[in-house]
Symmetry: C2
Subunit: 369 residues, 2 copies
């Protein structure tokens, strides 16, 4: 298992990650507090798609005392947006709606440029603005959502990043990210730039603002560094809530990745693409229809089952029915895939319409220096 901000591979053991990263489980008590504060729960919480956190209890304390928090998440624009990216954003939108809070959304064209050997900076910037359309299409509140592409907002970020950098040694970056001496100096500075938005709301509002970061667990090393530095700068440590990864189409031991198009369904895929890709996706069913009917399948490793579970079937009763049927063999791989194809196609048809409309709304969302 390898889980770093730049690579996720092997069978991801999320329990082990909680131990290794030193994060906390989202307990039943915490789930109840969220439900009480939000007025409802979210299936991604119930199903442990968001499964781990840092200081979420502290954040709820603050919230219950009337202290407003903000959300921070982001996107590394190394390619087109895919469903795996949307997963935490869908949850982030729910948080924004339920808690009526601001979202700061960082698009890291600078990072992707220094990390990806064959990408040019203008390309990552272009992808950044293109990816922003997918964020906007999800329906975030234009009055409370601030999206910035790093190279166009660096004047604001840089001053904060310098403060973080001054308190972060190369040893720390090395230990936390596994950098070595052959790492380029853009990558070694980068953790400071990803930390900057944690303190940006405090800088912009002239007061200490609690921040909650909903993001996949691979981003946690950044928050570890940021949390160490925060008290030295006089800011709150950012709280975080971590999601699992949406598996790639080829099976559970992969993560959807825009740099591996064969693993992904992009937000701009046509209904034909979707049908073709899901039809070919890794199945947890029996080798033949006969075998499946007799022995059943395994929904926990079946990609279509997992996409429904993690993202596309909010109704938990329906999920139970479906998984039970799949396990027994009454529900076939074809049935599950057909259901997913319909759900994803409906979702993307609507998403693509909103994505088109988002082209006229960019100015309302984008922060620029």
């Amino acid at each position: 298992m390898i889980v770093t901000p730049w690579e996720v591979s092997g069978h991801v053991d999320y329990e082990k990650l909680i131990m290794e990263f030193g994060t906390s489980h989202i307990t039943k008590g915490l789930l109840e507090r969220i439900e009480k504060a939000a007025g409802e729960t979210h299936f991604m919480l119930d199903r442990k798609v968001f499964f781990s956190h840092r200081d979420l209890d502290w954040l709820l304390d603050k919230y219950e005392k009337g202290e407003e928090f903000v959300l921070y998440t982001g996107r590394g624009p190394s390619g087109d947006t895919h469903l795996g990216h949307l997963l935490p954003w869908v949850f982030t939108k729910w948080l924004q709606d339920k808690f009526d809070v601001e979202l700061y959304f960082q698009i890291t064209d600078d990072e992707k440029f220094v990390v990806k050997e064959n990408m040019e900076l203008s390309e990552t910037t272009r992808l950044g603005y293109d990816n922003a359309l997918d964020v906007i299409a999800l329906g975030f509140d234009p009055d409370k959502t601030f999206i910035f592409v790093d190279t166009d907002y660096i004047k604001s970020l840089y001053k904060i990043a310098l403060r973080v950098a001054k308190h972060t040694t190369f040893s720390t970056a090395k230990a936390v990210f596994g950098l070595d001496n052959s790492t380029n100096i853009g990558m070694s500075f980068w953790p400071a730039v990803q930390a900057a938005p944690c303190f940006l709301p405090s800088v912009l509002k002239y007061r200490n603002v609690p921040v909650l970061i909903p993001a996949a667990i691979d981003q946690d090393p950044y928050w570890r560094i940021t949390r160490d530095v925060a008290p030295k700068l006089g800011y709150y440590k950012p709280a975080a809530i971590h999601s699992t990864f949406l598996p790639g189409l080829q099976g559970p031991e992969s993560k959807m990745s825009s740099s591996k198009p064969e693993t992904t369904i992009f937000t701009t895929d046509t209904p034909e693409d979707v049908k073709k890709k899901i039809t070919r996706a890794f199945s947890g069913g029996g080798a033949t229809i006969k075998e499946h009917k007799e022995k059943g399948g395994n929904p926990d490793i079946d990609v279509a089952c997992q996409y429904l579970y993690q993202m596309f079937e909010p109704d938990s009763n329906k999920i139970k029915e479906l998984f039970d049927g799949y396990r027994s063999g009454a529900v076939s791989t074809g049935d599950v895939k057909a259901l997913l194809i319909k759900k994803v196609t409906d979702f993307l048809t609507e998403h693509q319409k909103k994505r088109e409309q988002a082209k006229k709304k960019l100015d309302k969302f984008i922060l620029k220096d």
Copy 2:
């Protein structure tokens, strides 16, 4: 002898630096070419105050073929400006006048913040704008001089710095600057930001522009990294011309340093300050007037003699007369100091007047994003 961008101490052996850094002597032939191109020579060249270079011959080739070059130098605002800072700027102004070229002047508030443990960022920015007054006071051409304080021009610089950073490993930065794992990640990224202005003119002008950097020799490690990266980005390698250091008031084995006020004459010092400081300065003369008259003194280590030689007495006949007299004992330490006090006071009186006027001219010079 330690000579790095952050520390200069011990007896500086400039011949050894040429060997160690791998730079070139300014030969007689090169001096003649400069004189021919400029229409006259400059005493700092004749006296080897500017003593070393990289690719100056290449730059003159370009110039002779009608290709315009630009100048780039800068200032790290860790304190008030002193005479040691002005030395290369005085020569830079001469280059601008004689070759009728643009000057890009970087003020590195970001660097000084990450390097100096006890300085705040707003303090280095404030000092940066204050130091800019001294640059302007020297009479640079307002139509051809572009001064920028990094944190206020970072949006333009960052995109170039990222390109440099992508091609510079931590190993390289380590080897060239003696960084180690305890170095903060702001310092490890920094060489990319100091390199950026070497390519800025090319970016701004949409063509490859030759750059000449007049600066003290301690800055050369930056140009070594920059020159390695330049061809990978498709730009010319910057050429450089290196000066010696103006010694501190306490003697030849020190460099004027704003962080050690006792070593310096600041540009804002009063005539009384100047008189007091020069009177107390390290002398190469005899221990007593009697001894000096008998055995003479050593102008090569005498601080007042050196200030006249390096900066304040352009007339080389007068310098010869003075030094001969000092060596023979006919000219006393008091005589030399009195002459220097007069020269420095006259210079600073005029400089301070222009510095005051510069406060109204900042907008004409400052580049901001």
